[in-house]
Symmetry: C2
Amino acid sequence: MDTHFKYQAIANQLEELIEEGTLKIGDKLPSVRRLSKKHNVSMSTVFQAYYQLENKGLIEARPKSGYYVRFSPSCMPQKPKVVIPKAEIKNVSIDEMISTIYANISSKDVLQLSVSAPSLDLLPIAKLNKSVQHAIRNEPNHCIGYEEIQGNLQLRRHIARLSFNWGGVCHEDDVVITAGCMEAVALSLKAVTKPGDTVAIESPTYFGIFQVIESLGLKVLELPTHPETGIDLDRLDRIIKDFKINACLFVTNFSNPLGCLMPDENKEKLVQLLATHQIPLIEEDIYGELYFGKSRPRTCKTFDKTGQVLLCSSFSKTLAPGYRVGWVLPGQYKKDVISYKLYHSISTSTLSQAAIAHFLENGRFENHMRHLRKALHTQSLRYLQCLSEYLPADARVSQPQGGYVLWIELPPNINAFDLYMEAIQHQVSIAPGQIFSTHGHHHNCLRLSFGRSYDQEVETGLHTLGQLIQKRL
Amino acid sequence: MDTHFKYQAIANQLEELIEEGTLKIGDKLPSVRRLSKKHNVSMSTVFQAYYQLENKGLIEARPKSGYYVRFSPSCMPQKPKVVIPKAEIKNVSIDEMISTIYANISSKDVLQLSVSAPSLDLLPIAKLNKSVQHAIRNEPNHCIGYEEIQGNLQLRRHIARLSFNWGGVCHEDDVVITAGCMEAVALSLKAVTKPGDTVAIESPTYFGIFQVIESLGLKVLELPTHPETGIDLDRLDRIIKDFKINACLFVTNFSNPLGCLMPDENKEKLVQLLATHQIPLIEEDIYGELYFGKSRPRTCKTFDKTGQVLLCSSFSKTLAPGYRVGWVLPGQYKKDVISYKLYHSISTSTLSQAAIAHFLENGRFENHMRHLRKALHTQSLRYLQCLSEYLPADARVSQPQGGYVLWIELPPNINAFDLYMEAIQHQVSIAPGQIFSTHGHHHNCLRLSFGRSYDQEVETGLHTLGQLIQKRL
């Protein structure tokens, strides 16, 4: 989070006081005049800080009285528990449920809380369109000819520079551009496995990961995953000794659906553990730039000395899902990844690449990301506050530190897919927990995306959802 | 070819007379005045017809004397012979040769005669850029959001309408949009085979086809292919009885590299034969719209009653290689093809799809294709004439009826890869025959693309190539 603005420093400080419980619900905040004197800033700066906290739903203004604490994270619902899947290797079966959900995913009348992506109003449409115009006018081949297999050089340079954010030292030649993160993951899997191999993944995990693994004739082994810190490393250590694991595929930062964030020291340990056993790690980091805290978390790639980590990411969660531009830093597997890219799709859209490369110039991307992070953080708090009101008291909800999704654990007698089927009748779409595991776990869980800006429609939708849940208790 | 212009009818008639040998080299053509009276057309119409024939290199104007026949297709070099590969199943090995050639493929200083694609000056850059601008302004999500997995509806409608050209009756819902033809082929292979299966292909064949087959863990069986009529159906019939063939992958119209055109009656027989044996056919038809004759050839899909033909194509050879937009009509395998598309790349670039969909409105595409076909036909004749001058007398050259490439058979003591290595030193890039077979056949053959507009640089390059060949005899 930015602290180079004075108002931001003040807002952060107050937010911490509220989080720690020093300032409690109902407490009156210092007057604007007093705070402006204390910090030696203008009154408008203090108003800006208060406005931000109000926007996040943490404080409220009472007419002719001043500002009061309205909500504290300590009032949030409890966080979800760890579910330990059985340590067994099995073939993934792709569920009819996913098809059902996909069939409703582009309906305009439905409140889409099931898609882990930004709503359009959070994206810089006008500036991106200017970048497209720049590309078709100024690129030597007007973006009509083939791009290099490895990808647009300028774009690879910008992506290499982004590695600075996560403490990496990476060169343009280390980057391979792909058609989105899914292609990056598919090419990485092709490069490090052969059909019949076993890939260890988190549990619960994004269903797209099961599907790409199954489609390549691979098996999965689901690992217990802590809702806040990710993969249990001790357990992984033991499992590696008992089972033949050919590769790992983890979402280390703000994983989908749990939203967990693997601590940086765990990342370092994980890389060492896998290096010892010579197991390649495919690290999906599409949410890494969407942190709500003070700094961007590191990646496993940061600690990779042997080139065994393949870092996959994309601009789909930050800039333009429809442009289909992602990348992989494939380490020692670069040659194979480039070959498979050539064999399966030749190269990525020249136009999409050139437009994004132009957008990444002159700080446009950094500026946009500052706004997007702030908006998502605010939205996550708004959604959480609303849920704490409408959900039953014993429901547990994750408190994500980044990304797009909330993971909700309901009382065990609730079947989330049944709830989905009923909610969709009320024009609300959620992602039921069952689709995030091959073991039939998480039947009483659901994933909610807060990528859509919070408004009356969202509140009404969450209210409806709460009523449907209460009815089932 | 268009015959609704009067000049075109006259030009066609004269061209036929030259082809049949009725008009011989050196013969004087009727005067412009006489022909205009005879056909009851203006003199400028006759000039236009003569201009076209002159442009194709078939006639020449001699000052103060009139027009004379300059060249006849009967003077063309002989056509290549059939090479019969051994009927054996083997694993494809991807050659170091291909890497060497790819390493030089984007060098600006080299005369690129090794890429089977249009040069930029043949493409409608300005109009396509307008379509891009239209798309980013007018599409509801400004092309930033995800497109449907199956693809842009308008685009699918246009592609369904194109099926009228090859005698198909196809609906927008039968079309799946892909990231270029290679992805269409890869998804089709995934849908109809499993690792270890055998796919029958033409020989020689485009090396990209070997590579995608190998990368999916499949085996190939190369079939003898006639340089003019394609796959030998009797032989295929016998081979199906001797070997377990799980799928066929053929380029039926203007195949790469031979340029052969399977007669429509053979297509019908092929479809019947494969239907009897329940073998799916992946039909690549990226060159089908690039016919030099009077009408577009049909496809196997035209005769498909069981849905066992998967027709793959793209706009890469006709409009915009870099946009990466192709499609497949997957017949009965549609569900699987869409699933694999989702698992591996989610969807195709929204922007590229919307821009092409707009370009396909209001006859822009048909208009462009008329020009492109005419230009390619003219270029093919120009290249052929030039080669007949510079190649040794016993060299054989294909006379393609469409597409982008010439196949040249040199005397047996010439090694085409050695020739490639020497030619690249002289800034000329060719595709040596060896890379089009896994059997080491065609060592004395090479493929030349005539996609680049004929000019002095091309003539000099072909001259150099001729000298290098003569030196090796």
